[in-house]
């Protein structure tokens, strides 16, 4: 009986392989890629629980349990990086999240198709610049000899330390983030506005509704699911932060504010070679990140919105 089933199974496998050999063959390379470059690093996370020795590898290094975490949780620099990450992300949430919603609504109110098209092309442009380019432009414009200060001094306003004074730096970091992402961020909201039933606007026109009322009572509720979905995603990313932007914009004068988890991991890991500590910080970040994402999703469902899963 068993043998019979197994034999039958073998025949089935053979048949499937024969029929779909080409499909499996196609998948070979992508799957190999995923295992080597995605799953192997996940396995590499184990070194967070080791006193990792680069010559011994994960197989030969000594296991130390949670000692590494214990160590980093007693480091002031870790808390500084964590706090800065949260602060910068909160600033992005406060300024960078509503900005594209507002801009999208305004773009939607524009009546000149041509003007709209041209401005949109311009507004999307910053999204395609690397942070190195943006950082370079910011440095050239806002450093002490740059255009911003020379214009200010023409109006009799003195030099402002845009980039080396800590609070100013926070404002610059946030503003540049808005500048870079606001136009591109409108795309998804504009698409969602187009999906709103036109009859609603016509009906409100008959009732003599003002523009603002239409925005408030029709447009905003219409794009609310999109807003909520993007809000969940952004809250879920609260503890994760890209590397390029804080690294390129930061400098040692403001490192009390600009040193975030990604740059901290880079510094202690690749800079100082404390691989176990850096990996532990990274693992902490991804675990907390998943908790944030799940919590945001749960919260959204609680208040009757559609979650992301």
């Amino acid at each position: 009986m068993m043998l019979n089933l197994m034999a039958k199974g073998m025949i089935e496998v053979k048949a499937v392989l024969k029929r779909d050999f080409f499909l499996y063959f196609l998948l070979l390379l992508p799957m190999a890629y995923i295992f080597i470059f995605k799953y192997a690093p996940i396995y590499g996370v184990l070194m967070a629980f080791q006193d990792y020795n680069i010559f011994e590898g994960i197989g030969g290094s000594e296991w130390v349990g949670f000692d590494v975490f214990n160590f980093i949780f007693h480091q002031d620099s870790f808390y500084r990086a964590l706090q800065n990450t949260l602060v910068l992300n909160l600033l992005d949430l406060a300024a960078g999240f509503p900005a594209p919603i507002i801009l999208a609504i305004l773009l939607n109110e524009l009546r000149y198709a041509r003007f709209k098209k041209v401005t949109q092309t311009i507004l999307y442009l910053p999204h395609f610049l690397s942070w190195v380019i943006i950082g370079g432009m910011v440095y050239l414009m806002f450093s002490s000899g740059g255009m911003a200060n020379s214009v200010l001094s023409r109006f009799g306003l003195g030099n402002i330390d845009f980039l080396s004074q800590k609070t100013n730096w926070l404002i610059m970091y946030t503003a540049v983030g808005v500048w870079q992402s606001v136009g591109w961020g409108t795309i998804i909201y504009l698409a969602s506005i187009i999906g709103i039933n036109k009859d609603l606007y016509e009906a409100s026109d008959m009732d003599g509704c003002s523009r603002l009322r239409k925005i408030w009572h029709i447009t905003l509720p219409g794009i609310k699911p999109t807003i909520m979905m993007l809000l969940i995603l952004q809250i879920g990313r609260m503890v994760s932060i890209g590397f390029d932007r804080p690294f390129v914009m930061g400098n040692s004068l403001v490192s009390d504010y600009s040193d975030v988890i990604s740059t901290y991991v880079y510094r202690i890991g690749i800079g100082s070679g404390d691989f176990s500590q850096a990996t532990a910080v990274g693992l902490f970040q991804s675990v907390v990140g998943l908790i944030f994402l799940a919590a945001a999703n749960y919260g959204a469902k609680k208040i009757g919105e559609q979650g992301i899963w």
């Binding site: 029929r19 779909d20 080409f22 499909l23 499996y24 196609l26 998948l27 992508p30 890629y33 995923i34 080597i36 470059f37 995605k38 192997a40 690093p41 996940i42 590499g44 070194m47 801009l103 109110e109 524009l110 000149y112 311009i122 507004l123 442009l125 910053p126 395609f128 610049l129 690397s130 942070w131 190195v132 380019i133 950082g135 370079g136 432009m137 440095y139 050239l140 000899g145 255009m147 020379s150 080396s164 500048w179 136009g183 998804i188 606007y201 523009r211 590397f243 390029d244 390129v248 930061g250 400098n251 040692s252 990604s262 991991v265 880079y266 890991g269 990996t279 990274g282 991804s286 992301i308």
Partner: protein, 289 residues
């Protein structure tokens, strides 16, 4: 809505949006002005949006700088190879996964999607590249980021939206899976493939972090890393978080501005024509994700 007269709210909206759009252009105008100004005018802060002491000396310097031209050419070739390779992997992954008859399809999809939520992080990836002996090789800039699962899912969605009857009739005509893919599916998906290729190309062109981590050999610097070095060259060493800056030689602001323009121009040239594809790509991605 159309046909109504222009009123003051329209005017406010137009002014506001124009202001935002202008703010997107000002940095470029300033970069152009800086790069065409004499160093005297720049250090005495006379330059704003118009060149002062007009000179094209800076561009002469850059265009006669063999290293700079080499880096540009190298980065273009790197971007092209990366894009083709990524697209190849993406198609190879996406096409079989559209076939509902494929045994193990759900399992393979799960294996892919998991990597969107869990990753090993910076250091394990870095050590992997190191252990594979890819430090200071072009491979470190091509292989680790060679396939985005997100893009695979976008492409799979698109493949799946093609009418099944096309493939059925082709297979009745004796076309095998390879034939269906090459003769029917790919030609019909050219817009999606163009869009995803653009995403890959922009990623590689703008990529900085991996080059900073993996490349120390100047001959293998991509454009962004090179630009970073130029811009940070004479900010005092101590104001840099990274170890990248050289600090020893002085680079005038005009040269920095010209280098910024030099790196940006390829994007400025290509972007307006391809904008449509980018927008489509975002929307396909948004519907799925």
């Amino acid at each position: 809505m159309s046909g109504r007269k222009l009123n003051w709210t329209d005017l406010i909206i137009i002014i506001f949006i124009s202001a935002v759009a202008i703010s997107c252009l000002v940095p470029f105008l300033y970069m152009i002005a800086l790069s065409l100004s004499s160093n005297n005018a720049i250090t005495s802060q006379k330059v704003s949006l118009w060149p002062v002491g007009f000179t094209i000396e800076t561009y002469k310097t850059i265009l006669s700088d063999v290293e700079m031209i080499y880096t540009l050419g190298y980065t273009i070739v790197l971007t092209a190879i990366y894009t083709i390779f990524c697209m190849f992997l993406t198609v190879c992954a996406a096409y079989p996964l559209t076939k509902k008859r494929l045994k193990g399809r759900n399992f393979l999809l799960t294996v892919l999607v998991i990597t969107m939520y869990f990753s090993g992080g910076l250091i394990p990836s870095y050590l992997l590249v190191k252990n594979l002996d890819m430090m200071n090789t072009v491979w470190s800039l091509i292989l680790p980021g060679a396939m985005s699962v997100f893009n695979v899912i976008i492409l799979k969605t698109f493949f799946g939206s093609l009418p099944e009857s096309l493939e059925e009739s082709a297979s009745i005509d004796g076309c095998n899976d390879l034939g269906i893919l090459v003769r029917i599916v790919l030609p019909l998906s050219l817009p999606s493939i163009a869009t995803l290729s653009l995403f890959y190309a922009v990623d590689r062109w703008n990529g900085f972090q991996d080059a900073l981590f993996y490349i120390t050999n100047k001959n293998l610097y991509p454009m962004q890393l090179k630009l970073y070095q130029i811009i940070t060259a004479n900010q005092q060493l101590d104001t840099q978080q990274g170890e990248g800056s050289v600090g020893a030689y002085i680079v005038p602001e005009s040269l920095k501005a010209a280098s910024v323009m030099f790196t940006t121009v390829p994007i400025l040239v290509v972007y307006p024509k391809l904008q449509k594809y980018f927008v489509e790509g975002v929307l396909t991605g948004a519907i799925k994700g």
